[in-house]
Symmetry: none
Subunit: 529 residues, 2 copies
């Protein structure tokens, strides 16, 4: 089994993405997640350009890593100074990581027009910086920036920079497709040529500006690269970096390379979701392997096929990466789809049981009212449980009231909500202000229920969508509210329909809370159920 | 220049994506957007499996298309019946499109184990269906479903299905990578083999389950395909279809193929954003070419490089696809884009007028707050008018209050609103009940204003969309409300942003009413203006 070194740059190149900003605590959590998954290298920051990163490198020393080596990122020394006097290079030593990555220019145009030095001096910068760091005992990775554009523009010079890095002792030379504009056929051709001329380990670092970041990395590996750089869920400057959560299973499950320990592949989806959570972004639903929809089927014919044989419409088994298959409840879904979902909750139910008919009738009735269950697994499960008698309410609503005023004492619209709930005979009444009536009601409800169910503190909503069903009736139309919630581990979606947006939101909120509470009971008391 | 037929399936395969559901009006808008861009084929529905699609095919006949041919999608006849007795095939004729697409099985395993017939009967199904449709005068595209998996499993049989389709008269045979599991090297190899054996036009249809949908399509074209199927912004079942908004510029700007008329390439970004808006989804910020961040630079060194020479960190010029460069630290204006819009309202304004700078500053300020003017022509026009001094308010709000109660005297949630407005010194105070606070407020506002402006009686809202901007803040997040209004003659859209859904709706409602009143003044007094 050919081994591929996986090099994650979520904390360095990923941090260059718009709206991404990590605290030291965030970075430590991401390091643990990646290390547990079994990634080989974690590039954790740029100590020379970012003082926050230096603080992190001090903190991370307290963590014992099982699989990964930490790397600090910097550049070759600046032009016309001694390497030991370059503060950037010095801070790489202060970071005190076993591995250092330095990037250097390989595109002649960048040397002369952007950093404005001579081609010869650039070679000295590469040579001296690598020698200096090797002498300090570091494993040195040389990031050959813009290598593909450099090769296309001045092949001889671009190759010369690699030869210089190799002679200076670089442990690995990474061909960087910095601008993300290359095509797979070009990557194959150029990588193959480099493999003939350079004998040390060769890596690949691609970006996604042509939507081919993953393909370019894969083609580079097929052409001989043994080290792959990317960010774990693909974010990075502009269109992002090559997505490692796609590359790893592509290579390991489909081409027989070893990227992470085999037994860890089932943790892939959870790792991706955790990193999205820490980065405070939504993981793309359609992301290969790890997205919520990656193994979701909607067309009746596909559902029929997958039911007969998963291979008919799935290229890998969802379990292999810790994800799951979902069948959407759409107008086209038939009895067998619904049954499959029912059986996940109550495996003994058959197609001909009376309760199956009742569930189907209830679904049809709700769909007629405007409900849609394809994006609302949480509400669907509650509906099935109610039909099976495996449900009792967690609280009773006594009353709520929402109030919006403009102008208010604070000079802009103010919204507030009052709520009274009853749990096991105990009444809790509270109030909250919020950004709009739904938010005020959401806050008031949680505030009241957390008194009885402290586990609700981990829950928050990650998405809130409103769809007007009968657009002709405009603001009086029925609306469907779809909310997605998470407790940091799982995601679930619930739905509510009403002509009143507050009521529709309320229905979805209540389902979200009840789903969470049932899920926790199931987890805690699995052995007894 | 080699011509590539671009075949968009947003309305058919795209509609199989989770949470995508198009109304007939949505579909008509998408057809116009794609046709204006210059796409060659629009696959607009599956009339046999979905009665809603048949209604659409009747409506779409009223639209004159400039560039695109419409296609209806279905399958080969079912096993063991006569093609003319197959209701699915019949409904393809009812759809009455110049082009029909039929998919057929090419993977022997699917023939025997999924649709459960013989290999021979499957060939008859392909042959007879194509001959039948050709005899009816249709341009017939044969979608060779699962072709790559079929070829890997039973090469001779897979090729036999293509030969059958060719002999029966198919105008184009499309190799479908249905399960999305193939790699670019496999696509090159298999496409090259097919090109040697089949002489009619060959197309490619890929999915994104390995994150390589775009690359697989591109490699197929390099190996001889002349027809590319995908969805415009990539959504589709599971991980989505090949993204045409990436493939088109990849092929046309970087490899010299012609996919759409050259002068339309600058409309690419707007088309992608419009389709996302109609589909009620967020366009991925990092989407190649058309995403908001596609040409956004954050790292200091990148900004420095791009300032010296765009090519240093951009693989194409953002203007070439109608997108714009953004520097996250120091924003530089997309002045010409905005000017183009301003001149539509005030043709005499030039780039260097002070007012242009003011408008740009205001737009940037509002965009920063979450406004988006692409789907809100009404609000944009009001903004320009305000800057030009061609505006005065039609009323002043004194106060409003909304109240929601559950349970109420009527046993379900009741919403009401009280409002006080002032027009030319006269005060009108009124109240209304409604379906939710926004509807109550909408009704109360109209009721109050109709006293002064009876022409508002013809106005009603036709669409009301809510988008959560910062999904992590859930119900406390900023929301963007987009409403579309009509007076039976024209349609216009307005937008409001706030953390409070009532306030965001209020802003959009006020703009809608003011836009209508201005529009009427313009019409009535055109001769005097």
């Amino acid at each position: 089994m050919k081994k591929i070194a996986i090099f994650d740059s979520t904390l360095r190149d990923g941090a260059q993405a718009e709206s991404i900003s990590f605290s030291v605590a965030d970075k430590l959590k991401i390091v643990s997640t990646l290390d547990e998954l079994g990634v080989g290298y974690i590039e954790a920051g740029n100590p020379g350009s970012n003082p926050k990163d230096l603080e992190f490198f001090t903190e991370v020393k307290k963590v014992t890593l099982k699989n990964a080596k930490l790397a600090a990122f910097g550049s070759t020394r600046r032009r016309n100074i001694k390497v030991e006097e370059d503060s950037n290079v010095q801070s790489l030593l202060v970071a005190d990581t076993p591995v250092v990555v330095i990037f250097g220019k390989t595109w002649d145009f960048h040397v002369t027009d952007i950093i404005k030095t001579t081609l010869e001096e650039n070679l000295c910068m590469i040579d001296e910086t690598i020698r200096f760091l090797k002498a300090k005992g570091k494993e040195v990775i040389f990031d050959a920036e813009h290598f593909f554009d450099g090769y296309k523009n001045n092949q001889a010079y671009a190759l010369k920079t690699l030869e210089t890095a190799q002679k200076a002792g670089a442990d690995c030379i990474v061909l960087c497709e910095t601008n993300g504009g290359a095509f797979p056929d070009e990557v194959i051709e150029i990588m193959s040529d480099v493999k003939e001329k350079i004998s040390c380990e060769i890596g690949i670092h691609t970006h996604n500006d042509t939507g081919m970041g993953v393909a370019n990395s894969i083609m580079a590996v097929l052409a001989g690269a043994t080290h792959v750089q990317g960010t774990f869920i693909g974010f990075g400057e502009r269109c992002g970096n090559a997505n490692l959560s796609t590359i790893i299973p592509n290579l390991q499950l489909k081409r027989g390379y070893q990227c992470i320990p085999e037994e860890n592949m089932v943790k892939l989806t959870l790792a991706a979701r955790r990193i999205a959570e820490i980065a405070n972004i939504s993981l793309g639903e359609h992301m290969p392997y790890v997205g919520k929809s990656a193994f979701t089927h909607k067309a009746g014919m596909h559902i029929d096929g997958v039911t007969k044989a998963p291979i008919s419409f799935e290229h890998v088994v969802p379990d292999s990466v810790g994800n799951e298959r979902r069948f959407l409840m759409s107008e086209v879904a038939g009895r067998s789809t619904i049954l499959e979902k029912v059986q996940r909750i109550a495996p003994h139910i058959t197609k001909d049981d009376a309760v199956t008919g009742q569930i189907i009738a209830r679904i049809k009735e709700l769909e007629h009212k405007g409900y849609q269950f394809e994006g609302a697994d949480g509400t669907f499960e509650l509906l099935v449980r109610k039909a099976l008698g495996k449900y009792r309410p967690f609280f009773d609503l006594e009353e709520f009231k929402t109030i919006g005023e403009e102008p208010s004492h604070s000079k802009e619209i103010s919204s507030s909500a009052i709520i009274k709930v009853r749990v096991d005979g105990k009444v809790e009444m509270t109030a909250a202000e919020g950004e709009g009536p739904v938010n005020a009601l959401d806050k008031a409800l949680r505030k009241a229920l957390e008194v009885f169910y402290p586990e609700l503190k981990t829950v928050h909503l990650t998405d809130y969508k409103v769809r007007v069903l009968d657009t002709k009736s405009a603001t009086a139309a029925k609306v469907r509210v779809l909310i997605e919630s998470t407790d940091g581990e799982d995601y679930w979606s619930t739905v509510g329909v009403s002509t009143d947006i507050i009521e529709a939101s309320w229905i979805a909120l209540v389902d979200s809370i009840e789903y969470k509470l049932i899920k926790d009971i199931e987890k805690r008391f699995k052995a007894y159920l």
